[in-house]
């Protein structure tokens, strides 16, 4: 069997896709099926680091769950949330609390919330508002001034399999640190959330399994309102961009994006129907890895 890469012989315009094409000199009927099986095995091998025991946790939003591998957020894995707003991260915090609420529903145990106290302009999450998403009675709040301490706390928490989830609000996280967190999460099966600051430099690379950008969006307008007067406020709407989806569909080249609305009364998240499939303002770019 000889494997020939077309780029070696053919002119550049002859390449039909980015992926190397396998040219097989002795064609066999079941090659395609075997390849599919192999790919599946590789994917499973890649993902299993003890995490195989932790099932994926669905967000209960069918449109979003469909885009996630195994129909939900991986259990023993690190997930990142980046705020899309410059002014504040209220929306990102809301989405984090929503995910946390799902984790807390599925998994038993306490939630460890780590807040890095970066000075006067930062504040820990406010429990009375979080109560709508997740019961603060199940939360242990740890705060630290130093980034190393915050990361240590997060890793220590992830090693403890008895926790329902670990959340870290840490602004400066290096790639190595995210790798450590991911490994610790894989080992114990505890899901980890990392709320990062809006910082393009440090947020560029990470070992997290998914990364979400959460931007606040104008809420639903009430009927009959004129354009002049101030209107009543409805449930918050967020624009979710799934910037990174490590084990997602490799064929998908655009960034999945949804406009979602949180309804406090029903206590759940739903995709706003009219925007399904509509591409987000940013030009679609190919997903890496």
């Amino acid at each position: 069997m000889t494997v020939i890469f077309p780029s070696a012989f053919a002119p550049a315009n002859a390449i039909r896709s980015d992926a190397p094409v396998m040219v097989l000199d002795r064609a066999e009927p079941d090659r395609e099926g075997e390849l599919r099986r192999l790919r599946e095995t590789v994917r499973r091998l890649e993902r299993s680091g003890g995490a195989s025991s932790a099932p994926a946790i669905p967000l209960d939003v069918p449109e979003i769950d469909a885009a996630l591998p195994d129909g939900g957020l991986a259990g023993g894995a690190l997930h990142e949330i980046v705020p899309g707003n410059v002014a504040h991260d209220g929306a990102a915090l809301g989405f984090a609390a929503t995910i946390l609420g799902r984790f807390a529903q599925v998994r038993r145990g306490q939630i460890l919330w780590i807040h890095r106290d970066a000075g006067a302009l930062t504040a820990p999450p406010y429990a009375p508002a979080l109560a709508a998403f997740v019961d603060p009675a199940r939360m242990i709040l740890a705060s630290s001034r130093r980034v190393e301490d915050a990361l240590w706390t997060m890793e220590e928490g992830l090693r403890c399999g008895a926790l329902a989830a670990v959340v870290g609000e840490i602004d400066k996280v290096e790639l190595a640190a995210t790798r450590r967190l991911q490994l610790a999460a894989e080992k114990s099966g505890v899901p980890a959330l990392l709320l990062r600051a809006l910082d393009k430099k440090s947020a560029a690379i990470s070992a997290a399994v998914t990364r979400w950008r959460v931007t606040s969006a104008p809420s639903r307008a009430h009927l009959g309102a004129d354009g002049e007067s101030l209107q009543d406020i409805a449930g918050p709407r967020w624009r979710l961009d799934l910037l990174r989806n490590r084990f997602g569909d490799p064929a998908r080249t655009d960034i999945p994006s949804w406009l979602v609305e949180w309804t406090n009364e029903k206590g759940h998240l739903a995709v706003v129907s009219e925007t399904v499939g509509r591409p987000h303002g940013a030009p679609a770019q190919r997903l890496a890895g």
Partner: protein, 552 residues
């Protein structure tokens, strides 16, 4: 003092201080003592005896500090270490004691051998050095030998009572009398001068004038006339020395009920050795806990270095624990920062706080906790036993507390207050958890709240159509936010029993805040409030607006 002036070893030297209207001798060295100079003498008198007397001013504060260091060092023998309140070195040092207020003159007691003293209660400690009286003799010898190696001249005596030991240490003439045999202190005390009874100078002077020079002279005398003639103190001191009246030694630090010690033949210095020794100490201590049915809340580790200094470190736990491995993990962090110096010759681990460790109680707490932990609809939750789960979290919290500090690892509970910044209270994690669902109930009767509440509200510039209207736009941190939607106001007023901050413009008007939830054109949500006097003040002042939080 002599430690600082090496050349004093060959000279006749004394320390002086100002008392009773003139310079007086406070302490003397060996040469001065043999020349007849005594503490309490006037400097002029001393100079007539030794014209070339070398003198320096006494430093009582430094002496007290040294004495305290020594007391800490002596904890290697017993936790019951007290600084002798009558020690001559303590004059003017600010060391307060009951004795001083009872009219006992320190200078007077210091007349003979007026140096600082320590009292050690070594009941039941001698067996570490050998069986019976031999062990006690060895302890005493070890104490003096070690202190001599550090350059201290000491006299240590041991007797059945603190009073007798005090007297023997200062006045015993023969070396072998320093260790009084059991119940044998009476005969040893008899030939000592009456000053050995710790009397004030006037009483001692009167007794001497009456020809009662030795303690033995006082022993056969009837008690009642003695008390009548010389006061309560003499009889009490006599009884204390003989053991018919109780005398308590107040330990400098509270004596722990549980402790273990480990002495090394060779000083150790490597971190692994210290960790291994700590582990052994822990194992021994946990055995003691097991027997007593308690668990540790706070443990203290003391490292006695070769140079006489002591390094101490402590750990705390959220719930009483006697889990060897868990406690060892907590020690890992402080042990990494410990400095062994030139080597550690003795390590001691003591439990500063213990609490009953009731296995049933633990099980019950876990059952209650389990109810909180149980989540509705937890279909695919792993079915691990609640016991191990809860214990794991408790141990995790201990580790976090050890590194971050107790104030930084908390649980949040609602507090009955209208003011948002007061509505949440941080409790230690060890406290029982808030009832499941209580938060939801509390949140239900409150208005919308921000997911993040700023610690300090930030002032903003607003623009509104009418003075009392909610703003149409505001400027915050240099960015202009045009508002599209507004909800409010929700008026929150401080509790009447708390003193409210008076507003500058209107003195007596009650102040309050009107909160609005607003959304700008990008959908970002803020929690704003207008601060100021409420209920129609005569002259409406300009409203002051603040950002207090961000909504989801």
């Amino acid at each position: 003092m002599a430690r600082r002036h090496k050349d004093w070893l060959a000279k006749t030297a004394a320390l002086i201080g100002f008392h009773q209207g003139g310079p007086r001798i406070v302490a003397v060295n060996e040469h001065a003592r043999s020349a007849g100079i005594r503490a309490g003498q006037r400097l002029a008198d001393a100079r007539t005896l030794v014209p070339d007397l070398t003198t320096a001013h006494a430093e009582p504060a430094a002496d007290l500090k040294l004495l305290e260091t020594l007391a800490g060092w002596c904890e290697r023998y017993t936790p019951w270490v007290a600084i002798d309140p009558l020690g001559g070195a303590l004059v003017d040092s600010g060391f307060e004691s009951d004795e001083a207020t009872q009219g006992v003159d320190r200078m007077a007691t210091a007349t003979f051998g007026g140096d600082g003293g320590l009292m050690l209660d070594v009941t039941g400690c001698g067996h570490l050095f050998g069986p019976g009286i031999e062990g006690e003799r060895a302890l005493l010898a070890d104490l003096t030998a070690r202190l001599a190696r550090h350059g201290f001249t000491t006299r240590a005596a041991m007797a059945d009572t603190a009073g007798a030991a005090w007297a023997l240490a200062r006045f015993a003439e023969r070396q072998k009398d320093l260790l009084a045999p059991v119940a044998g202190h009476r005969t040893l005390l008899a030939p000592l001068p009456i000053e050995a009874l710790r009397l004030d100078s006037t009483t001692a002077e009167t007794l001497r004038r009456l020809g009662l020079r030795q303690i033995g002279d006082l022993l056969p005398m009837p008690r009642a006339p003695l008390a009548q003639r010389f006061g309560d103190l003499l009889v009490r001191r006599l009884d204390q020395a003989l053991g018919s009246a109780a005398e308590t030694i107040q330990p400098r630090l509270p004596a722990p009920a549980f402790r273990t010690r480990l002495a090394f033949a060779e000083p150790i210095g490597r971190a692994e050795d210290i960790a291994a020794a700590t582990s052994r100490l822990l194992a021994a201590l946990c055995g003691q806990f097991e027997k007593a049915g308690v668990g540790a809340r706070r443990l203290e580790l003391s490292l006695f270095r070769v140079d006489g200094s002591i390094e101490r470190t402590a750990i705390g736990t959220g719930r009483p624990s006697r889990d060897n491995a868990h406690l060892m993990k907590l020690f890992q962090e402080p042990l990494a920062h410990l400095d062994a110096g030139f080597g550690v010759e003795l390590m001691m681990l003591s439990a500063a706080a213990v609490e009953p460790f009731d296995t049933q109680q633990v099980a019950l707490a876990q059952a209650v906790g389990g109810e909180v932990l149980l989540a509705p609809g937890g279909g695919d939750a792993p079915a691990a036993p609640a016991r191990g789960h809860d214990a794991e979290v408790v141990q995790l919290v201990d580790r976090l507390t050890q590194r971050l500090g107790a104030a930084n690892v908390v649980r949040l509970a609602p507090r009955a207050s209208h003011l948002p910044e007061r509505a949440v209270i941080a409790l230690p994690v060890a406290k029982p958890a808030v009832r499941a669902g209580l938060w939801t109930k509390v949140a239900a009767y409150k208005g919308p709240r921000p997911t993040r509440l700023l610690a300090q509200p930030e002032a903003i510039q607003t623009t509104a159509q009418l003075p009392d209207d909610p703003p149409r736009q505001f400027n915050w941190r240099g960015t202009l936010h045009r508002l599209k939607r507004v909800e409010g106001p929700e008026r929150l007023v401080d509790e009447w029993w708390r003193e409210s901050v008076p507003t500058a413009e209107v003195e007596n008007a009650p102040s309050g805040r009107d909160y609005y939830r607003v959304e700008d054109e990008d959908g970002q949500r803020f929690w704003l409030y207008r601060d100021g006097p409420i209920n129609a003040p005569p002259v409406p002042p300009a409203s002051r607006w603040y950002v207090h939080g961000f909504c989801a």
